[in-house]
Assembly symmetry: C2
Homo-oligomer: 529 residues x 2
């Protein structure tokens, strides 16, 4: 057959997931889903593309990163850019839903400059949890912060992350009081947002030289936006006469005071850093905003929260459009991947669709590809051997001797499957013994069932735990009647499962619970009976 003429690849900025990466990512999804459900979350699914008008005017200058579908007659559509705008559209269309805790785990699309090693892709997953509805102030907001902590604790990150938190109205209040003209507030805000990667001097330069802000105004801003803290910082803001007289400031400070109280009741206040330099890109936020950084995600020159919510478009290099070859900008894997989760309160977005009914919302978006990159790097650092099994097979059914016992193996598998036990056999009429062992060991299958002449003649099988040490009394397996096989296997699987849980808890490897591979030493085939 002739070599095909097309290039054999996935589109730029996309990739296939398979093997151990897929297993690790699935485990991350299920950890996150478990937390979402624990808080009463229900999931929805929206189409991967929306009418283009729905997305228009929501993402500011990042709108140019939206993927469009071709006009093939009929409606004009684009791939979704995030899960938040489709959620607001969903709420506007379903007027009977006045409140919901919804989660949504799905792919979103951005024609950004890919940076694979940092987990910045054109197709990537977001895991969103949002609370919509009219409630007493800051209660859903506090629960979102609690959810963030439960997710990262569930992933075994053990407090190695910080939730940077700010309030749009506090930021706007500071800008007003410092004397930023009304029409410059958004652009000055986005300059402040760069403080996580640039020193104040550079940001000040951008404000004054590029954006024409008065130098004295910039200096007044500079006194505030470098501050971090918790209640202490809130106290400092309150004690400033000018700031505390500002209407925006008053609202923001009341919100944050209440939030800190609630976070204490939820026992997560220590994870939060009230950080006046956090501004966030999107226009639609109206209250608290936050992003999560972790060790290795926010070194000196970390891009902030790009893919967790709204990426800044890549600066084009001369002669290189966004479709030039992949540009990782750094091959150093220790360079940060940006924030791993981000979100905030947006009380006016649903109204942009419904025309009048507002439904206040607050939410969080987890950037799974970045969380994956960090998790994988940590797993690789923690151990030199593979910790992850590719499949979940419990039992490998093997034949010994020359007859192959194909139909006996098939009937045994059918019995195991019937009982819900995961089982495989080799697709050979007369399989060789080493080939069967190899197939079982490559996937870390914990148990084998042996069939030889003697066993078949006696209506029995041998059940053997793989990887037992030499000298173990059951090293050669134990003989059981065919009719007792399923019960015997079930007992042994349950026992092994409990043992493995104890082991992996002891090792603190929460994220790989249940996917820890058997560390089997290769077996030499035992004699048939």
């Amino acid at each position: 057959m002739a070599k095909p003429k097309f290039e054999l690849k996935t589109p730029k900025g996309t990739k296939d997931w398979g093997g151990q990466d897929m297993v690790i990512r699935d485990k991350i999804f299920s950890t996150i889903t478990e937390v979402f459900k624990r808080h009463g979350g229900v999931t929805i699914d929206t189409p991967v593309f929306e009418l283009r008008d729905i997305l228009a005017g929501k993402y500011g200058e990042d709108s140019k990163l939206i993927y469009d579908l071709a006009d093939q007659g009929g409606e004009i559509c684009s791939l979704r850019y995030d899960l938040t705008v489709p959620f607001a559209r969903f709420l506007a269309m379903n007027k009977d839903i006045q409140n919901i805790k919804r989660y949504h785990i799905a792919k979103v699309y951005r024609r950004d400059q890919p940076a694979m090693t940092k987990g910045r892709m054109r197709e990537f997953y977001q895991c969103d949890f949002d609370v919509a509805g009219t409630y007493d102030p800051m209660l859903p907001d506090a629960e979102i912060i609690r959810i963030i902590c439960e997710v990262f604790e569930g992933l075994g990150w053990n407090k190695t992350y910080t939730i940077k938190l700010n309030h749009r109205k506090i930021l706007d209040g500071i800008f007003q009081v410092c004397g930023v003209p009304e029409d410059k507030i958004r652009t000055i805000s986005s300059a402040v947002d760069k403080l996580d990667k640039l020193p104040w001097a550079d940001v000040r330069k951008e404000m004054t030289e590029e954006k024409g802000l008065d130098g004295e105004v910039a200096d007044r801003i500079g006194e505030w936006v470098v501050l971090k803290g918790q209640n202490d910082l809130l106290e400092r803001l309150r004690s400033d006469e000018k700031l505390s007289a500002n209407e925006f400031m008053k609202q923001g400070m009341t919100d944050l005071g209440l939030l800190f109280e609630y976070l204490e009741a939820f026992n997560v206040l220590d994870r939060v850093s009230f950080d006046l330099s956090l501004a966030r890109g999107l226009d639609y936020y109206t209250g608290i905003i936050y992003e999560v950084v972790t060790e290795g995600s926010a070194p000196s020159a970390t891009p902030s929260a790009e893919q967790a919510e709204a990426p800044k478009p890549a600066k084009k290099k001369k002669g290189k459009g966004p479709d030039a070859e992949d540009d990782d900008r750094s091959n150093d894997p220790t360079v940060g991947v940006g924030s791993v989760a981000a979100g905030g309160r947006y009380d006016n977005l649903v109204g942009m669709f419904s025309g009048k009914t507002q439904i206040p919302c607050v939410g969080i978006s987890f950037g799974v590809d970045r969380i994956f990159s960090i998790t994988k790097a940590r797993m690789a650092a923690a151990t030199s051997t593979s910790l992850v099994r590719n499949n979940e097979v419990d039992v490998y059914v093997m034949a010994f001797g020359g007859k192959g016992f194909l139909k006996e193996r098939m009937a045994i598998c059918a019995q195991l499957w019937e009982a819900g036990i995961k089982a495989e056999f080799l697709y050979k009429i007369k399989p060789k013994v080493p080939a069967q062992f190899k197939a079982a060991e490559v996937n870390g299958v914990p148990f084998a069932i042996f069939l030889g002449d003697d066993e078949v003649a006696a209506g029995k099988v041998k059940v053997k735990e793989m990887g037992l040490q030499e000298g173990h009394p059951e090293k050669e397996g134990i003989l059981v009647d065919l009719k007792d096989m399923v019960a015997e296997v079930k007992v042994r699987l349950e026992r092994k499962k409990q043992l493995d849980q104890v082991t992996s808890q002891a090792e603190g490897l929460k994220v790989v619970d249940g996917i820890k591979a058997e560390e089997t030493t290769p077996e030499t085939p035992a004699p048939a009976s």
Copy 2:
């Protein structure tokens, strides 16, 4: 705020999923995934769009149903049309993978005429399981048939489905022996495929009048393609001297003979109907082909297997392109939804990408939207009350009396969450009692925790099972120390879970295991202590 100018809807042929539909569909996914894993399946994830060249030339005249992305500079891409071609592309790119049992549950896209009530959408889910690799003949094929049975039994369909099965080589052999010219074999094959909706006379007419086949040749075909059976039909083919001399026939009959033996060993032979009228649309099949029909999916005029694998394009009405308004063609929900699963063996597809290395494959694709429609209709028929809970919350934490006990409720929730228990509280500082009961009952939450003046003062809570009958000794809840609360709730949840499993097994409602709603009678609030 002014009414927005754009139309508030999802694109044609797409829909949002939420509420009970989403819960039922998720349950279908998890049932299918469980079966796939039981057979050693591992999952992969491929991008939602592919380079257009990858998809080109794979779908015959249905290629016009492919969604294209707009050319925004860079690569030319299209949305995937199925999961099979991306899988073959994946195998061709990953040359280290010579064999795999892969499953993939994901959305695919076809610009077909939507028919919502039948579950025919432009964006819909497929659940695919494929075995790739060189093995002894018919072993993976037999396991795929077994998997089909386990999926539908797992969904509680209890043998109310039939796997129609044929072999491409047998069909081609019959056509050769009957005298169909080589260049007419594919077009005559697609006429035969219509026998599930048209009588033989109509199909004969299409063959002779439209496709210019000799009448006598058509009559000879007609003697064979109306036949159904199992080993009996195979025997009848074998005993025909002319047929059994044909090379294609020989290969096909050997395959099927072996397959029937293996299906017997797997205890699923009774689910299969060897049906000579089954032809399947796609060109790439090379061995056995099959599709699954069920009661209500295949009445007299059922379109066959359209969306489970390759849809026939909708006939255009005068002046109505594929983007005209939704055309359900029938509002009668009893009209069939076509096949609910379909697949076959395709040994040459990977080679179309790799250029030389062939990897033989066999697989099955489940059409989840159709399975969903049937499952939902059956659930609605089986019961008049709601069987499905929207969320999975275990415990609703409530305050009694005027104080609200907000921070106490928050701290209790935090304790429950810490222990992995799903819990909610009302986002009100001083919630009314009826509002709290309503919030718990609307989601069928099985347990409540009450906090009143006396409980808080004594460091206790009341744990109450919802929906207990009047006169039940624990109707008012039981008082427990705060420090024993988590343990007490865990014991009661476990007990209730086991009880519910027994109940739903007794009712044979396998598909709604674990999502069966509490049938609570609305509670009148009990006094605070």
